[in-house]
Structure formats: structure tokens, C-alpha cells
């Protein structure tokens, strides 16, 4: 290997989403479970178990993402090391972590209880599991898998096809875990055969390993033609490479089998150790306080978020950014791709908002610059009037939100920095004006389209501002969370915490957190979407089933997700151009407006009505009530489509602000550097896969909510569920089709 540029080799790591995210998730779940068990039964789950499990995951990651994988196609010896990690290092380490209970304990309790427990308690699945790890099955399977995949034709197949290569690795890992199971015998599983059987079991595997290794080492010809044809990047010839691979398989491979043989033999022949009795065991430590995850109780983060000036600091930063965007939009070059007003609001703000909505909650409203300006304006014009009774619903917001979507896509706001700047100015003026006249946060609650978007999307967020202990609130008479007190105002959106359910209308301002004298409000983890199953009487929002305006808002949010993507597609753009050429811009504009209104407003409301009518036939409830209540179940699917859409913008435009900032610095005379407009656009080949995964997750979440809502209405849930499921499946199919279409939006920045 002396011939190789070491730096290039060592940097040949890959970010493979499946190993990176999958293994990180496994590590997190194990750690959460292990932490609880370590507190309860430390002698069973010492730190060594954690280290062992994490070491096993690290071995899998190194095998799949390190330079080992990058060079496995050129050097057999490297490929062999990769396989040894997958079959002889990772599996025993993973099993020595006794992973079953930590993994089960680390998962959300509801998912374990309702989702996994039926399978775990099934006697037939128990029997099947015991059969899989029985030495008489697992041993031969492991040997067969090793021999099978080392046959030249199959090895070549794996080298030629990335898909088959992954299947090969999966086979190695799974059969190895089954093989090592009876050897390690992770607690609380019970051995199927006496312990001494493991000695011939391991020796038989070693014999197979030795025969195969010897064959590779001493066979006089190159077994795998791909390695004969590979570029000779090292000093090894193809035959030397093959012999070295055999040696790696032989020596370290045999050691991995023989060391446990030695340990088992010594233990078996030694006099039995005195087992600890219950009394002798170390005292059981008090279990950690169980409860939901609370972001405000996380060290440092919680303290920072509760700091008096945290929100104003966030808002002022966003305000400064908004001012910069407005200035650049008004006075900078009028090309979307080279102006902050064409990039930051439409690409980065929407992308970051979606990420935080998916991972935490409605943090954009927390950092809202418009309410910052409003609060400043209130120093002069403190709103004293009540919001008009006739407008106390979401109907006005539905119109504004639909108009916002229309303007964005069909007036090409994203390509007009000047208009974008004026939209932002209009936003600021609206917030100051409305809340300068009317009391409370009327603008947020009844007008702001961005707020409405975030309110609806945050219905499926994993965190919620809510009370920690319901009992504490039952004795409260002051109701500071809504009324406020001398030092802190209460909730301006009139959300009374004990009766708040879900994130609708919650801006994450944390006023209630600071106002509560008993420190009983936190940002708690919830199962995403679970708040949409039941329909309690929510504070301020009431029951969703009685809110046609909320249902309309949700439906516009969902269907606009699909319409917005459709408007970016090449076929739609071509149709638009053709119509404009044929009928002129005015007729074409009117026609597209009609299509938009039909797709985003008329069609969804009509579909909801029809589904509600069909569903009501078996339940006897009002069709409108079912339509209103069930429409909210489509939010996960709609948000998934938004996430798929926005992920395209994130991956395509992540680096675009940098040359714009360089240009602005040059324009104002900071320096004379010429902006490098050809910022490398990160090309993510797996983007359609990620988008499909988003849509699939959204569909499943929507179907789950619909099914649970149907079950809550009647035992014969299928007729209630089916029409809604058909609508959800149709939207999913449309979403898949949209993902596969070409988009009329160049990713590269065009220099001015």
C-alpha cells in the first residue's frame, strides 16, 4: 500500500443514510433503555454492556461506511476485513450488550406496549425465534451463508451490483447474529442445549473457516475475475491479494472462534462459582424518575430557553435578518438567485422551519420577527379593541393562506426580490396595525398565513407546550397561564393550559411557562399525530368536529402541498406557457386561478363532504361533523408532501446565500472580492428515495389516525375508514407521481 496517497484513502468515508441514521437511532434507543436499566439493576447492565453494544454498532459502521467499503471492490483483502467485521466482530459485541431489554425499554412506551407487545407475547413467534437461534439451525445456516457467498459467481454478482452487495452484507450480519446468539446467550434468553455443546459448535465453524481460508490462500489462480481486472493501486498482485485475504480469514478468523472455546472450556472445567444471592447483590438503586421528555428540563438548553431575554434575542436576530432581506430585495439586483430576498425566505426559512417542525415544534413562531415589531409598536399603540366577533374563526385565515400559496407559485414571488421585500414589509405593517388596534395576538390567531401553516403542521410535531402534572393545575385558582400576573403576561392566544391539547394556535412563546407560579408547564414529548385521534374540547379551539373553518384550513394546507409541487413541474409549466401563447396572459391567468381554486379549495372540501356522508351512513353521526373531525387526520400526509418538496430546496440551495453575502459586502464597500457564483450544488442521488420515505411515513401516520378515529366511533370501523383511506392513498399516489416528474427550476446559481 506504500504506493497509495494515504490522505485520499483515509478520507474515503461515505455518508450512507441507512448506516449513519439507522445505527445512530439504534445507539440512542439502546442508551435510553440502558440508562434506565443501569439505574435499576446495575449488576446486570454495567457500563461494559453499553460499551460493548456501541462497539458493535461502530464495527458495523466502519464496515459499511469507511474506506474499507470504498476499496472493497479493488482489493480482496480489504473486502475480507470488511466481512470479518460484519460476521465476527460486530455480532458478538452487539449481543454482549444484552440488547433486548435496553432496546425495548428505550423505545416509546406506547409503541412498545401497543405495537410490539402483541408480537413479543405471541407463543408461535416465540417458538419461531427459539428455532432461529437454536445451534442446530443457526450453526449450519452461518456455514452455508459463508460458503454460498464465497462461490465465485455469487461473489462476482455482489461486486457487480450494489443492491446484491447490500443483500450479501445483510445475510452475513443476520446469520452471524443468529450464530453468535447461543454462544453469547444474551440475558434473559435461555440456552437450548447444554453449554458444552458450544465447544464443538464453534470448532465446526472454525473448521469451515479454515478450509475456506486455506482454499483462498493456496489456490493457484485468481478466483474472482473482478479482482484480476481491478486497477493495481497497491504493490499486491491479484494472486497475492487473494492469498492475503485467505490469511486474514484464517488467522484472525480462527482466533475469534477459538477464544470463546477456551473461555467456555475453562468455565466448564472450573468449580462452580458461588452465585450471588439476592441479599448479597448490591442494593437496587432508585429508578430514574420516569416521565415524558421535557425540553425545558434539558440542562443548558432548558435554562437558555427559559431565560427572560431568550425570545426577544431570537426575534431581534430574525428582525435584523428580515431588514437585510428587505433592503437587498428593494435595492439589490432583481434576480432571485443572487438576491437574499430570492433565497433566504423561500429556500432557507421554509427548509429550517420544516426541520424544526418535524424535530421539535413551532419554533418559527417563537422567533417571529413580525411579533417583535408588533411588540415595539404596542409601546405607542396598545391594542384595546376586541377582534370582531364575526371574524373569530379561521375562515379569513383560510382565504389569506390560499391567496399566499397562489401568489407564491403563480406570481413567481420566489423570483421577484422586489415583491418579496414588499410582502415582508406588508407583513410587518399588518402585524403592527392589527395588533395596534385589537387586543391579544389577533394577527397571529386570525390573519397570519405563516402562523396558520405552522399551527397546522405542528399538529404532528413531536413536542407540545403542555402541563407537566394535571393534578397540580386542579388546585390552581389564579390561572396565571392565561390571565398573566404582575411580572408576566399570560397566553395572548387564549390557550388555557390544563385544557390545551395539541399545538393548534400555540406560538411557543413560552409566556405560559414563565407565568405559571408552580413551574408546571413544559415542552413535553408526544407521539406525533396522537393528539388528532381523540377530539376533546380544546381550550380556544374547541372540538375539531365542530369547526368547519379549521377543517377547511387543514384541507387547504394538505392539498396546497400537492398543488405547489405540481406548479413547479416541467409538464405543468409547459401547459401554462402553451395556454398563455394561445389565449393571452389574462385569460391564461384566470384559467390557472380557477384551476388552483378548484384543486386547493373546492375539490378537498367536496371530497371531505362526500367521505363524511359515506362514513356517516354506518355511524349515524352528522356528515359534517365526521368530515370536520376526520379532515385533520390528513395533516401528516400533507406535511409529508411539504417536507418532500422542501427537502428538494434544502439539498439544492443550501449554499446559495454565501456568494450573495459576498456580493452585498462588495456592494457596500467592505471588500472587493468577486463572489464565486458557481457554488457547488450538492447533488443527492437519493433525494427521490428520501421524498418517497417522507410520503410513506405521512401516509401510514394518516391511515393510523383515521383507523383509530373510526374505531373510536364504531366497532364496525371499516366502512367509516375506507373512503378516507381511499382519499389518502390517492393523494399518496399523486405525490409519488409528482416526485418522479422533472422540475422546472435550475439548481445552479446563474451569475448576474
Amino acid at each position: 500500500m506504500t504506493n497509495l496517497p494515504a490522505e485520499s484513502v483515509l478520507y474515503s468515508w461515505a455518508f450512507e443514510p441507512v448506516p449513519a441514521l439507522g445505527l445512530s437511532a439504534a445507539a440512542l434507543v439502546y442508551f435510553l433503555g440502558w440508562r434506565g436499566l443501569h439505574g435499576q439493576v446495575p449488576w446486570r447492565f454495567p457500563v461494559e454492556r453499553l460499551v460493548s453494544f456501541l462497539g458493535g454498532l461502530a464495527a458495523v459502521f466502519v464496515a459499511l461506511a469507511s474506506p474499507l467499503d470504498a476499496f472493497a471492490g479493488w482489493l480482496l483483502v480489504v473486502h475480507m476485513v470488511q466481512h470479518l467485521l460484519l460476521t465476527m466482530v460486530a455480532p458478538p459485541l452487539l449481543l454482549l450488550g444484552w440488547p433486548m431489554l435496553p432496546l425495548l425499554s428505550g423505545l416509546p412506551r406506547g409503541f412498545t406496549r401497543d405495537g410490539l407487545a402483541p408480537f413479543l407475547n405471541s407463543p408461535s413467534l416465540h417458538r419461531f425465534g427459539r428455532f432461529l437461534v437454536h445451534p442446530l439451525f443457526a450453526g449450519p445456516l452461518f456455514i452455508f451463508s459463508n460458503l454460498f457467498w464465497h462461490a465465485p459467481a455469487l461473489y462476482e454478482l455482489a461486486l457487480r451490483s450494489p443492491g446484491w452487495h447490500q443483500v450479501e452484507h445483510l445475510c452475513f450480519l443476520v446469520t452471524a447474529i443468529l450464530f453468535w446468539w447461543p454462544v453469547v446467550q444474551p440475558w434473559p434468553s435461555r440456552p437450548a442445549l447444554p453449554r458444552w455443546v458450544m465447544i464443538p459448535y464453534l470448532l465446526a465453524a472454525d473448521l469451515q473457516n479454515t478450509v475456506l481460508a486455506g482454499f483462498l490462500s493456496f489456490y493457484g489462480e485468481v478466483l474472482y475475475p473482478a479482482y484480476a481486472a481491478a486497477p493495481r493501486i497497491s504493490g499486491l498482485s491479484a494472486l497475492d491479494d487473494q492469498a492475503a485475504a485467505g490469511a486474514v480469514m484464517w488467522v484472525p478468523g480462527s482466533m475469534v472462534f477459538l477464544i470463546p472455546v477456551g473461555i467456555i472450556s475453562i468455565r466448564y472445567l472450573s468449580p462452580r462459582r458461588h452465585r450471588l444471592t439476592i441479599q448479597e447483590k448490591p442494593a437496587v438503586r432508585r429508578a430514574r424518575r420516569a416521565g415524558k421528555f421535557d425540553l425545558l428540563r434539558v440542562p443548558v438548553i432548558g435554562g437558555v430557553m427559559r431565560w427572560k431575554f431568550f425570545r426577544p434575542a431570537l426575534q431581534s436576530a430574525m428582525f435584523a435578518l428580515a431588514a437585510l432581506v428587505v433592503l437587498d430585495g428593494l435595492f439589490g439586483p432583481q434576480v432571485g438567485a443572487v438576491n437574499l430576498a430570492g433565497v433566504l425566505p423561500w429556500l432557507h426559512w421554509s427548509g429550517i422551519s420544516a426541520i424544526v417542525l418535524l424535530s421539535v415544534g413551532n419554533l418559527f413562531c417563537m422567533a417571529c420577527p413580525f411579533t417583535f415589531a408588533r411588540d415595539l409598536g404596542r409601546k405607542i399603540f396598545p391594542g384595546t379593541r376586541e377582534w370582531p366577533r364575526a371574524l373569530r374563526s379561521k375562515w379569513f385565515a383560510v382565504v389569506v393562506l390560499a391567496g399566499f400559496f397562489w401568489a407564491y407559485e403563480f406570481l413567481d414571488l420566489w423570483d421577484s426580490p422586489w415583491w418579496t421585500a414588499w410582502v415582508i414589509v406588508f407583513y410587518f405593517s399588518g402585524a403592527v396595525l392589527v395588533d395596534g388596534v385589537f387586543k391579544n395576538a389577533s394577527y397571529c390567531k386570525y390573519v397570519c398565513p405563516i402562523g396558520q401553516f405552522n399551527f397546522v403542521a405542528s399538529l404532528v410535531s413531536p413536542m407540545e407546550v403542555r402541563v407537566r402534572e394535571a393534578d397540580v393545575c386542579s388546585g390552581c385558582r389564579t390561572r396565571d397561564c392565561i390571565k398573566g400576573n404582575d411580572v408576566q403576561r399570560g397566553c395572548e392566544l387564549l390557550l388555557f393550559q390544563p385544557r390545551k391539547s395539541g399545538n393548534m394556535d400555540c406560538t411557543f412563546c413560552l409566556d405560559c411557562v414563565k407565568a405559571c407560579p408552580r413551574d408546571n408547564v413544559g415542552i413535553l414529548a408526544v407521539t406525533p399525530g396522537s393528539g388528532l385521534i381523540a377530539d376533546p374540547r380544546r381550550s380556544s379551539a374547541g372540538r375539531f368536529a365542530r369547526r368547519p373553518d379549521l377543517a377547511a384550513l387543514v384541507l387547504v394546507f394538505v392539498f396546497a402541498a400537492f398543488a405547489n409541487v405540481a406548479a413547479m413541474l416541467v409538464p405543468v409549466r409547459e401547459m401554462e406557457d402553451a395556454l398563455r401563447r394561445m389565449a393571452g396572459p389574462q385569460v391564461s391567468g384566470a384559467a390557472w386561478f380557477a384551476v388552483f381554486v378548484f384543486a386547493v379549495v373546492v375539490l378537498p372540501i367536496a371530497l371531505a363532504r362526500v367521505c363524511g356522508w359515506i362514513s356517516s351512513a354506518t355511524t349515524g353521526q352528522k356528515p359534517s361533523s365526521i368530515a370536520n373531525g376526520f379532515a385533520a387526520a390528513l395533516v401528516p400526509l400533507g406535511f409529508a408532501m411539504w417536507a418532500a418538496h422542501i427537502s428538494f430546496h434544502i439539498f439544492s440551495g443550501a449554499l446559495t446565500p454565501w456568494p450573495i453575502l459576498v456580493r452585498i459586502a462588495r456592494d457596500i464597500g467592505f471588500h472587493s472580492a468577486v463572489p464565486a457564483w458557481d457554488v457547488s450544488v450538492p447533488v443527492f442521488e437519493g433525494l427521490p428515495g428520501l421524498q418517497i420515505l417522507f410520503l410513506g411515513a405521512g401516509l401510514l401516520c394518516s391511515l393510523w389516525i383515521l383507523w383509530r378515529k373510526s374505531l373510536a366511533l364504531t366497532r364496525r370501523a371499516m366502512p367509516v375508514f375506507l373512503p378516507w383511506a381511499v382519499v389518502a392513498a390517492a393523494l399518496y399516489a399523486v405525490g409519488i407521481w409528482l416526485i418522479f416528474q422533472p422540475i422546472d427550476m435550475p439548481l445552479a446559481v446563474t451569475p448576474p
Binding site: N3, L4, P5, S8, V9, Y11, S12, W13, V41, P67, A70, G73, W74, L104, R113, D114, G115, A117, P118, F119, N121, S122, L159, R160, S161, P225, A226, A228, A229, A230, P231, R232, I233, S237, A238, L239, V570, F648, F651, S652, S680, F684, E685, L687, P688, G689, I692, G696, L699, L700, W704, I736, F740, Q741, P742, I743, M745, P746, L747, A748
Partner: protein, 191 residues
């Protein structure tokens, strides 16, 4: 002797050789350098072409990482009446545009690579220009491009997990009902 064997085997086995960017589509030896070009998908199809290059010194075989490689594709057949539309993630360059191959593109950092647009099936040519220090040379590698693969046939595993998940949920429901019939006890998972 072994080197001769390897060289003799190369033409026969080159289609089996994989790198980051798929299988070998050509090899050029000039000015003391050997450039091996790899392309994916296999077989090469209309759509985005993932092309990577390995540059080695002759005769030491030492990989070269400081060569500048530019590449482009050119259709030899007449243009298709209905060109293949590229997916959204790859609509960066038009055919004929010269693209710099970089090591950031490829996972194996001995390789330099880029995505190039193949807008239709037929005969194409991969034009490359290699420069190292003062010397530079150009070469062309013919490509035979097949019709594009329907996206569903590429991404079906990611779509199939949805019905699989639904089936697992239905199975869970069956298990719950069976348990209810067998006895009233609730599910428990006790550490």
C-alpha cells in the same frame, strides 16, 4: 508474468469491474498516464450518468490525485424528438457542457467524478480532457446508451414498505384479537 495475466484478463473482465461510478467504460494510456473511466448505472441508460475516473502513472501504477479532468457528453445519433427529462436532483447542466470531475463527487477519493446528462438512448461519446502540470490531452470514449429505466422499477422497495407496514399492523390486530379470545390479561413488557 502475473502482470501480463492481469492485462490479458482486463478486456474480458472489465465489464465486471466496479468502482464508485459503476463498471469500466474505457481506458486510455497517454503521456505517462493511464485513465480508467467508470460509469453507472449498469448498463448505461438515458438519464443522469455517474462517471468517475482513476488516473495512474505508468508504469508505477501510482494513483494520481492532482490531475484536472473535465468531461462532457455528446450525442452521436440525431437528437431524440422526445428527450428524456432528468430528475430534479440532477437538472444542473445541459448535454455538451464541460464539467469538472472532482473527488468530492466520489466516495473513493482516488477517483474524480461528476454527473453528466444523457438525454436519450443511442450512441453517445464521453469526451474527457486530462491536464496535469504542463501536459494535457483529450480523448473520447464511445458509450452505448440504453433506454431509461422507469423510476418505479428503481424505487419500488421504498414504496413497498408501506403495504408491508400495513400488513404488519393487520397481523398485530389479529394477534390482539386472538389474545382477547384466549384471556383478558393485558400486554406486559416487564424488564
Amino acid at each position: 508474468m502475473r502482470r501480463l495475466l492481469v492485462i490479458a484478463l482486463f478486456p474480458a473482465a472489465s465489464s465486471l469491474l466496479r468502482a464508485d461510478g459503476g463498471v469500466t467504460v474505457g481506458q486510455i494510456e497517454r503521456d505517462g498516464l493511464r485513465v480508467t473511466a467508470f460509469a453507472a448505472p449498469v448498463p448505461v441508460r438515458a438519464g443522469p450518468l455517474d462517471v468517475t475516473f482513476l488516473v495512474q502513472e505508468i508504469p508505477s501504477n501510482r494513483p494520481v490525485t492532482d490531475a484536472r479532468i473535465e468531461c462532457s457528453v455528446r450525442k452521436l445519433d440525431p437528437p431524440s424528438p422526445d428527450p428524456v427529462r432528468l430528475p430534479a436532483w440532477c437538472s444542473t447542466v445541459a448535454p455538451g457542457t464541460r464539467v469538472l470531475a472532482t473527488s468530492t463527487h466520489s466516495r473513493n477519493k482516488l477517483l474524480s467524478g461528476a454527473y453528466l446528462p444523457l438525454t436519450g438512448p443511442g450512441r453517445w461519446e464521453l469526451d474527457i480532457r486530462v491536464a496535469r502540470g504542463p501536459s494535457a490531452f483529450s480523448a473520447a470514449i464511445p458509450l452505448s446508451v440504453a433506454a431509461p429505466q422507469p423510476p418505479l422499477s428503481i424505487w419500488w422497495p421504498l414504496i413497498a414498505w408501506v403495504p408491508v407496514a400495513i400488513l404488519v399492523y393487520v397481523w398485530r390486530g389479529c394477534l390482539v384479537r386472538a389474545k382477547r379470545v384466549a384471556g383478558p390479561s393485558a400486554w406486559t413488557v416487564n424488564p
